[in-house]
Subunit: 149 residues, 2 copies
DNA sequence: GTCAAGTATATGAGAGTTCAACTAAATTGG
DNA sequence: CCAATTTAGTTGAACTCTCATATACTTGAC
C-alpha cells in the first residue's frame, strides 16, 4: 500500500526541491563564473585545506567532501592537471593515495572563497531569521542521522 | 569586507549540504535502479501528467519541472526515443512545441511512482516531526521567494 | 510592408557524474 | 603460508548538464 503524499506534503516537497535546487544552481553558477570550478571541486579544496599538511587519503577526502570515490578520483585527476592538487603514494599502505593541496590550489581556493561565502549568505542565511536557521540545522541533522547510518 | 560564516553557520551550512545531497542521491539512485530514469526525467513526466491533455509547451514545462530550457530539450529528446513523450508543433505559434506524454510514458510514471514516494518518505517525511515539516516548508518558501525573483 | 529586435526551441561541444569493471595490495582463515 | 576475501583506488563508457550558438518564427517601429 503506497502511502501517497497528501496535499500539504506535496507542497512542502515541491518547495523543498525548488529551494534546494535554486541554492545549488546559484552556488554552481557563481563558482563557475568567478572561479572556474564547480562546487564539488570547491568542497574538495576546502576539505584538503583543513587537513593536516593539506593532505588526505583519497577515501577520507571522499567522505569529507561528500563525494563518491569514483567522482573524487576523476575530480582529483582534473585538479592535478590544473596544478592545484598532487597525488602521493602512501608508504604504509601501498594501495593508498594521498591528495595534497598545492600552493596554487590554496591560492585558487583563497581567491574563490569570498565570492562563494557571499553567495551562501545571499541564498540562505540572509533569507532566514536566526530562529529559522536553528530549525533548519535541526532538520538537516535529523536527515543526516537517518540517511548516513 | 567578506562576512565569513561563524562556527555555527558553518556547521549549519555543512549539515544543509550533506542532508540535501543525501536526499538527492537517494532519490536518483532509487529511480535509476527501479525505473531506469533520473529524477529530472521523473519531474518532467509528473509535470506533463498533470497538464490538461498531458501536454505542455516546452517553456512552461521547463518552468514546472524546474529545468533549464536546454536541459529540457535534451531530456525530451531522450524521452521521445523511449516512446514516453511526443513533440507536436504548436499551430498558433510555429516556433513553439508541445511535449505530450504518451500512454507508455504515463504507464512508466505510474509504475515508478510508488517506489519514488516511498523513497521521499524514507528520506524526508518519516525523519521529521510534523512541526519540523511545517518549519521546513516556511524556510523553503522564503528561499524560493528570494531566489526566484 | 520591411527591417530590427525579441522569443521559442534545438543543437553541439565540453565537462562532470555514475556504474561497472579492473588492478593492486592488504587481510583473514584454515 | 597460501587461497579467498576485502579494501583502496582508478578507469572507460554511457549519460546528463551547461554554455554558447544557431535556427526559425513573431512582433513592433517606421
Amino acid at each position: 500500500m503506497t502511502r501517497w503524499l497528501d496535499a500539504d506534503e506535496q507542497h512542502t516537497w515541491r518547495n523543498f526541491l525548488a529551494a534546494t535546487q535554486l541554492i545549488n544552481e546559484a552556488l554552481d553558477r557563481q563558482l563557475q563564473r568567478d572561479a572556474g570550478m564547480p562546487h564539488t571541486y570547491y568542497m574538495i579544496l576546502v576539505a584538503l585545506s583543513e587537513a593536516p599538511g593539506r593532505s588526505m587519503r583519497m577515501s577520507e577526502l571522499a567522505a569529507r567532501a561528500q563525494s563518491s570515490q569514483s567522482r573524487l578520483s576523476h575530480a582529483v585527476a582534473r585538479l592535478e592537471e590544473r596544478g592545484w592538487v598532487n597525488r602521493e603514494r602512501c608508504p604504509s599502505d601501498r594501495r593508498g593515495n594521498f591528495a595534497v593541496l598545492t600552493d596554487d590550489g590554496f591560492a585558487a581556493l583563497a581567491a574563490a572563497a569570498p565570492g562563494h561565502v557571499e553567495e551562501v549568505r545571499r541564498s540562505l542565511f540572509d533569507v532566514l531569521t536566526p530562529e529559522q536557521v536553528r530549525r533548519l540545522d535541526e532538520i538537516c541533522v535529523a536527515v543526516r542521522e537517518t540517511l548516513e547510518g
